[in-house]
Amino acid sequence: MFSHCFLRPVLLFCFGLLLVFQPDQVIAGRQAEEAQLKAAYIYNFGKYVTWPAKMATGPVKICLLGRQDPMAGSLGKLAGKTIRDRDVTFDVLDSVSAKTDCEVLFISHSRQEQLAGVLAQLAGHGVLTVSDIQGFAGRGGMIELVKKKNKIRFIINIDSVRRAGLIISSRLLSLATVLSGEQKP
């Protein structure tokens, strides 16, 4: 009879299941809300960035430039987490200046028109700029989130990152599409 031949793997499988693994918080499905997924990316980016010395202590401040962005809720949930033992805080901004002290700034779609001005204000300040505005990395932003075939991918403008005095780990770069310089959008 062939019944014994699948008894063996079934028992093996049962045995495997009964090994007590503390179920980590993972999602079983392979899909998620776009905003939540993007927030998870931003949180992860924080782990692979080294900020200039003046910004390397205290909480990691994640800011959202622009009101009523779909990302507000999901970015807000990052507050209270930690990135390399630094607490994460969250703030919504209406404008930026040379004094903006956010470690990470997500620029809302609604600020597409003012993008050049915003990036100019932040130039050389060690703020990691992230956005899903189309062509963001080509226009001098640091990390652009793009939707490709329903999955989220990211483009890093390595020159913008360097100019701001940030260091991005090679692991992050290896997963990104890397641009250098300013390119036509």
């Binding site: 093996l12 499988f13 998870a40």
Partner: protein, 689 residues
């Protein structure tokens, strides 16, 4: 099609015994329950995402309103998706082997270069009840409505995913989507940028090389060029002698994608292949020695060009236009063929009101075939043209928003093989709650007769009566130009559940009723003069078989931590042929091929360190009943260890079939001599830069 069914005829006369079906559902139920009880209640979705690493995030899909990228749990049919990560982790090197990763796909390696791939029955190298596509281009040959799997190759890293639909997909895909649909989808050029080199060498596969280069034209246009070469050494027959079943395949392809705006996408791709396939053939003579086994190479080559345009009018409203040309040649001992296919398809999908999701489309296909019979094989027409027009319509109606969906649809087809065909489907989906859904469906599908079935005449063999060479009985196998389509009415039901956020189960049940299936009727004996005077007998193809099959397919997926995933599948099927009035039913018992009654897999993917992968894959099949030559049950174990010392560099070591030094997976059928699948070890190097 190559050699007749005389051997099968002989086998059948010797009789077979049937085995009873053993269900193990209770065992499964027993082993799942305690886990369910132990796992804490589901957490919110956002938090687990945040804990995931980047590589895992890159695998997650965004919910989409578009029908084409539905959530798996919202589809009212038995679907499984093999993604690139699974392909890479498996370490498998051939397309048909990769299909083992999907539950319920019956894959058997017949010998070094021939596979049987089937879903819910219909097995054999010439299994004819599946629709198989690469980027929307159908790859089954109209010669016998099956796939020459050995010719199909790709740089595996170019594959985005393989969608495997068990059960009929005819309401959308049309004829031949009878028992299932396999849809191989490659990545866009933008997703395959840079240089990729994959070299594999080992005891069986030596060498295998895949190279791809992806470049950028501008930020909206990308291209890639890929090439692959694979050589397969000969395997040994079960008796230890060397078979003649080696293989060499070269494959080249390109793809260019252009997205001039966020609404429009254009794609142009093309491919070519050339393969040399070692084959055993039986040549028969109306004089001693009556038959000889001939070793001969099939030369197979072809090219194709596929162009597509898709426009997103608004979210959930999209038009797709696809056009392809495919040219396939095969020179074998029995025939040489040249098939040219032109295919044009238009599809529009739109939301109507808040409750209707409508999709409809048209297709036109034109095929010219040049076939020349050789040796003992003849065709009625050396040239023929076939065409097909079809229209399909499907409406998914949300009876209760997000909860209860009714899908109505049908394909209407008019083609040169059998005239018009209607292939409707009716489907229901009930999302009981966020993590549980139930579905059920009734569908009708048809398989059109193949060119071979309508055209062929084969001298199957000559037997001297009482050893007297002047008194010959000749056995012939003849096709039938009047063959009609085979029909299937399929009843399906399924259940999907995320019992916990880390543990999900998928169950599908089916009952298939087949009618009008192509079988054989006995030819009346009559004196014949060609090629020598003999008494002519044999069999003629006819739509005289009906039967049914039923079974269950179970999948369980458990991901206790990010770095560890277990999967187990079990499927079982029973195929029964109805009694056929008259005397010829013994010719027809194998209407649905021969598949093991039970298949199971168990896999583990573990990433113990970020730079290491360990994979374990168990694939088992129950005893395959076959007259004279049953195939014993087997379990194969594959292990893969991969190490990434640097970013973009992966070294891997794979052991396949580690449980035994060799095992048989499929019986010899006619002159297609089987081989044992050996234990094999190979090493791989993958570079991405």
């Amino acid at each position: 099609m190559q050699y007749g069914n005389s051997k099968r005829f002989a086998h059948r006369i010797m009789g077979i015994s049937k085995k009873s079906l053993v269900l193990t559902a209770f065992l499964w139920a027993r082993c799942f329950l305690p886990v369910h009880a132990q796992t804490p209640p589901p957490d919110t979705l956002a938090d687990p995402l945040i804990e995931m690493d980047l590589e895992s995030l890159m695998d997650i899909e965004v919910y989409s309103a578009s029908k084409k990228t539905q959530r798996l749990s919202d589809i009212s049919s038995a679907v499984f998706v093999i993604n690139q990560d699974m392909i890479r982790r498996s370490g498998l090197t051939e397309l048909p082997e990769i299909l083992r990763l999907a539950p319920g796909v019956q894959v058997s390696r017949i010998n070094g270069n021939a596979w049987s791939v089937s879903i819910r029955g219909g097995s054999g190298r010439y299994g004819d009840k599946l629709l198989v596509m690469i980027d929307g281009r159908s790859i089954y040959t109209l010669l016998f409505a099956g796939v020459y799997w050995e010719d199909q190759d790709l740089v595996l890293a170019d594959i985005d995913r393989i969608e495997v639909i068990r059960g009929p997909g005819a309401a959308i895909w049309g004829a031949n989507a009878v028992n299932g649909v396999i849809n191989i989808i490659t990545k866009t050029a933008a997703e395959t940028q840079g240089t990729h080199i994959n070299v594999v060498a080992g005891t069986v596969n030596s060498p295998l090389t895949g190279i791809r280069y992806g470049g950028t034209i501008n930020d909206k246009a990308h291209y890639r060029v890929s090439a692959k070469y694979r050589r397969q050494t000969r395997f040994d027959r079960p008796d230890g002698s060397e078979n003649y079943d080696g293989l060499q395949v070269g494959h080249g392809s390109f793809r260019a994608d252009w997205e001039p705006s966020s609404r429009d996408g254009f794609s142009l791709q093309g491919g070519m292949f050339d393969s040399t396939v070692e084959e055993n053939m039986v040549e028969v003579f109306p004089a001693p020695p009556y038959s000889t086994l001939v070793r001969k190479d099939d030369d197979s080559r072809g090219w194709n060009l596929v162009g597509s345009w898709s426009r997103q009018i608004r979210t959930g409203n999209q038009v797709d236009l696809k056009m392809y040309f495919d040219d396939a040649h095969r020179d074998s001992f029995f025939y040489s063929s040249d098939l040219d296919t032109f295919d044009l398809a238009l599809q529009h999908q739109l939301a109507v009101g808040s409750r209707h999701n409508v999709i409809y489309g048209f297709r036109y296909r034109y095929v010219t075939a040049e076939i020349e019979g050789k040796t003992n094989f003849k065709v009625a027409h050396n040239n023929r043209t076939d065409y097909l027009y079809s229209f399909f319509f499907q409406d998914e109606i949300a009876l209760l928003k997000k909860e209860l969906f009714l899908t109505l649809g049908s394909k209407f087809e008019y083609q040169s093989f059998t005239g018009s065909e209607v292939q409707p489907t009716l489907r229901m989906l009930w999302n009981v709650n966020d993590s549980n859904s139930l579905w059920a469906a009734v569908s009708r599908a048809v398989r059109n007769p193949s060119i071979g079935e309508q055209e062929m005449t084969l001298e199957g063999g000559y037997i001297p009566v009482d050893g007297n060479p002047d008194q010959l009985v000749g056995f012939w196998v003849v096709g039938n130009p009047d063959l009609d389509s085979e029909t299937l009415v399929a009843y399906e039901a399924g259940f999907r559940s995320e019992l916990t956020p880390v543990f999900s189960v998928d169950v599908a049940l089916f009952y298939n009723q087949y009618d009008n299936v192509r079988g054989f009727e006995l030819l009346p004996s009559s004196p014949a003069l060609e090629p020598v005077p003999h008494l002519r007998t044999g069999m003629k193809m006819a739509n005289n078989v009906s039967g049914h099959s039923y079974g269950i397919e179970l999948t369980a997926d458990w991901k206790p931590i990010n770095a560890l995933r277990f999967r187990a599948d079990y499927s079982t099927i029973r195929i029964e042929t109805d009694e056929i009035p008259g005397s010829a039913d013994f010719l027809n018992e194998e209407f649905a091929g021969r598949v093991p009654e039970a298949l199971y897999t168990f896999s583990m993917d573990w990433t113990p360190r970020p730079d290491m992968d360990l994979g374990m894959y168990l694939y088992g099949a129950s005893r395959l009943e076959y007259p004279v030559e049953p195939v014993p049950e087997y379990i194969r174990l594959d292990l893969r260890l991969a190490w990434r010392p640097l970013s973009g560099v992966e070294l891997s070591l794979v052991g396949r079939n580690l449980f035994d030094s060799k095992h048989t997976e499929y019986p010899s059928t006619d002159a297609l001599l089987n081989s044992d699948v050996p234990l094999s070890i190979y090493a791989g190097l993958t570079l991405d830069f």
